[in-house]
Symmetry: C2
Subunit: 355 residues, 2 copies
């Protein structure tokens, strides 16, 4: 079983009475006679032989590791992505090394520098902000890269993006259909990838339906966080009285709902709330929050697949995939509750059967 000294192919070969090459072949399932294979396997078993990952990597030029760099580990959407990526790459025999980059674009550059050391066979990154410098580094590196998030036109990089525009449009359409007329927007920083995309989507969705987009109905949180959401919501409620609030992510939506209810307003009776990303946060909130599902898990899985494909074939043409959004409807946008009256929203999953 287990042995004290760390064993090597040489030791196994010696014990089995064969050459190191044969040991390597048997252990890698290359053609070998059954008699030798048996001896090797026996010796390997007896010595508790385990191949050395680093030595193998140095030789074959592959580390069997892929790096994942996300912006904010505090945001559940990144946790979802991490999980999804983890599964796909593990399936393919790769390990996941986590490289959380903060909000600072310099962190990404630094990360890419580090990756040149070759400790990973590829990297998936989902930066909040994509600067020209990052693009330049990304396109010039020979390391396989997939970015999650929209890239400027013409950049030849594998990337998978959400369709925020359509996502926002679906949400606005639904809110309008259920009688909401004053739809406010609580965005995150507009100088980020998701922030700018979602603002564009909001404006387009509103204007195409002849809905007003006055300045007092739009606020920009300083960050995609709960704390920033609280502040933004205070600002919004001080300057406007929307009957629906669309939030750029679920964290913001939860914060907005907190402020709204603290003002004595009811959700969804007085104001409907919609989040984005459809994380557990939206489902666990009370009342639960309708959220635009931007396919985070699917994007992450697809990114992992693209990366594995590129590692397999570095010369393949770069690819861009777009995943389609849908609306996960929950209590925060329920109709049926008579507006302006104190009626509880339906909570279908909690109703008890008549026994």
């Amino acid at each position: 079983m287990s042995v004290l000294r760390k064993s090597t192919v040489a030791l196994v070969a010696q014990r089995a009475g064969v050459s190191v090459a044969s040991v390597s072949r048997v252990l890698n399932n290359l053609p070998a006679s059954e008699s030798i294979a048996a001896k090797v396997r026996k010796a390997a078993e007896e010595l508790g032989y385990v191949p050395d990952a680093m030595a193998r990597s140095l030789k074959v030029g592959r580390t069997e590791q892929i790096a994942l760099a996300v912006a904010d580990v505090g945001n559940p959407v990144y946790v979802t992505m991490m999980h999804a990526v983890s599964e796909v790459v593990r399936e393919a025999g790769f390990r996941l090394v986590l490289s959380s980059t903060g909000n600072d674009p310099n962190d990404v550059v630094e990360l890419l520098d580090n990756l040149e050391r070759g400790y990973a066979d590829g990297v998936i990154l989902s930066p909040l902000r994509i600067t020209d410098e990052i693009i330049a580094r990304l396109t010039s590196t020979r390391l396989p890269v997939v970015v999650i998030g929209s890239l400027p036109q013409g950049v030849l990089l594998d990337n998978v993006r959400a369709d925020s525009r359509t996502g926002v449009d679906i949400a606005v359409a639904r809110l309008k259909a259920t009688g909401r007329k004053h739809i406010a927007f609580v965005n995150g920083p507009v100088d980020t990838v998701p922030g700018s995309a979602r603002l564009t989507g909001y404006l387009a969705a509103m204007e195409s339906r002849g809905l007003p987009t006055t300045a007092d109905m739009q606020v920009e949180a300083s960050d995609f966080t709960y704390a920033a959401g609280l502040e933004a919501a205070q600002v919004l409620t001080a300057q406007a009285t929307p009957d629906a609030i669309l939030c750029a992510n679920d964290l913001l939506a939860v914060a907005v709902m907190k402020v709204i209810t603290s003002k004595g307003l009811r959700v969804p009776e007085d104001v409907a709330i919609v989040g984005m990303d459809n994380t557990d946060l939206a489902d666990h909130a009370n009342p639960s929050i309708t959220s635009v599902d931007l396919g985070s898990a699917e994007r992450a899985r697809e990114a992992a697949r693209l990366l594995l494909a590129r590692i397999e074939d570095p010369s393949r043409p770069s690819e861009t995939t777009v995943v389609s959004p849908w609306l996960a409807e929950r209590e925060s946008t329920a109709e049926g509750a008579s507006r302006g009256k104190n009626v509880k929203a339906r909570k279908p999953e909690l109703e008890e059967g008549v026994s």
Copy 2:
């Protein structure tokens, strides 16, 4: 700056007109004449030389990677730990490789097998269930290991544990002090490390205060998840009418609160709720949930420090640290609200100043 071909010490040596040994010395800050150092640095810069991580690892016998294995990435407490570990090890120049093990103890064994390949210099793990087999594997491996979570007496392994017992006691004490008399307990699976510790703590805390611990006031969720929490809460509310509910983690607490409010009961007026782990979940809930802080981040940081110390000196005696819990009080246990009356809980952080 950047160059197409990957460069090596040999190429740098050639360009600098010195030996590879000198290159290695200069780059590792070993004694060398300033004239040679300058030439080497210049050549390295011009060639965009970056040392190869795998080759270095093979040579020096260290990978500069540490593995972290957590049970459930869906639970925010593990995200917190991941983040904390990440920071400490990065500081020390290590990378973090993530190895999420599921609920199955076999996954841990498999993980340990894999680690024998030597892709990490040590591992931190926080398993939900610790079987004898896991202990056996852990104590017999020569890989530095730190476990987060309580270990049986006499096991000589570095480990850092939470003091759940005291944590629960603080919570119960506070609930009693604020007039709660019927304190129910929603636990997770009792065959897990936290599940058993927290149950023990609950029983001890209640009995030491002469509070009743009838069977109908205790339910065991099938898992430490929101969905399991919903079910458990249904069971509890069907069989008992507590005026306070202590939950074994925040996810359960959020679920319990959902069910409670759906029954038309108010938190905290009719029933107080207390969670454990003090994750963002508790803070973001509405009303926000009082939670026992078991020092997740601190435990993780300490675990990382212990691991680094052991990697540094494998023969050092094993160490056990215990971190002290405290109670993060929030709205869900507020007093002052007149019990049984429809009065809103205080929300201090949301009150607007009089302007």
